[in-house]
Amino acid sequence: MSKRKVLLVDDERDFVEALGERMRSRGLKISTAFSATDAIKMTEKEDYDVVVLDLSMPEMNGLEVLRMLKEHNPNLHVIFLTGHATVEKGILAMMSGAAEIIEKPSDVETLVRKIEKVTGKKMVDVESGQGVGPDRNMTH
């Protein structure tokens, strides 16, 4: 089974690097971007199954980024991360085409389950054949 390709986008570098590593060890193929501009360029060059995107970033807000990503690829699944997931923000995000909205700090297993849900596939660690959880063979 091929790994789900996920683009993780947030301007907080230490957050992206740590979360990216944890998601890789749970059987996902992770690419990272630290700005909205880089994220848009990356999605134009490569197809991703899911983009996990911070709702508040410099340059442009997450909803603008979502609109641009969807223009390029209407089938792309976008999951928002936000500091404060209010009902209002959630409704706005969903109406704009987001698949999910998750509040920070989040639980990595919850995020992986959301990715499974939106892509319709259960993540399996390709090395061990086991379900989600840190990969014993991960490099560090």
Partner: protein, 221 residues
């Protein structure tokens, strides 16, 4: 039009809310980084329990990242506390250079969200004035917010506090776009005028020099 103090009161609530929302967002970001790095440590522990060798340097690096974020959170919370206490006294003696540096730090995330860098020119000596700390912070924010709208993304706004004949002044500079036709023009508005009047100060927009100058007296009446 509302009375001056109605305008100032409403603006004060809005200013307080905006700053607190920004602070809470930044704290959440810090918590998210700590959460993921602590999670990585937990992942490594689980792998170690299964017999995998873990590089101690890697663990040290993760602990260092967590400590860095704790120090960052401490700075944010200290600023939040200073901001909260700025309403304690309606008049007090303040160092305007320190107030400008504080407001730049408090507004840094909001500036960064607009893609703008803030640069503070530190004064060579303290600039002591007697004023309302909260209202001064509020009017600095209003001027800075307008300056950032003028400057636009990718630009730097410079804040300089110094003494002048009538007391002190704060200059918001590198606003070359002030003279552009497309630049926002309605400034100062009723809110800024009400704040300036209550502080005994005035705001001058100098399009040619690309500056906004906020003048404040040595002591407010």
């Amino acid at each position: 039009m509302d009375g001056k103090w109605d305008i100032i009161g409403n603006e004060g609530f809005e200013f307080m809310g905006k700053m607190n929302a920004s602070i809470s967002h930044e704290v959440k970001n810090v918590l998210a980084i700590i959460n993921e790095n602590a999670g990585l440590l937990e992942d490594f522990t689980l792998m170690a329990e299964k017999g995998m060798a873990i590089d101690p340097e890697r663990l040290k690096g993760l602990a260092g990242k967590i400590q860095l974020q704790v120090r960052r959170a401490d700075r944010i919370i200290r600023n939040m506390n200073t901001f909260a206490h700025s309403v304690d006294e309606t008049r007090s003696k303040v160092d305007l250079g320190e107030v400008v540096a504080f407001m730049a730090a408090l507004s840094d995330r909001l500036a960064s969200m607009k893609g703008i860098a803030l640069e503070v020119t530190p004064p060579s000596r303290p600039i002591m004035i007697t004023t309302s700390p909260f209202l001064v912070e509020n009017i600095i924010w209003r001027c800075l917010d307008f300056a950032m709208a003028v400057a636009g993304p990718g630009k730097t706004v410079v804040l300089t506090a110094d003494k002048d004949d009538r007391g002190a002044r704060i200059t918001f500079s590198r606003l070359e776009a002030l003279s552009h036709a497309s630049s926002p023009t309605q400034f100062p508005l009723d809110v800024e005028n009400a704040l300036a009047e209550s502080l005994g100060g005035q705001i001058v927009v100098n399009e040619g020099a690309g500056e906004i100058v906020l003048g404040l007296p040595e002591a407010v009446d």
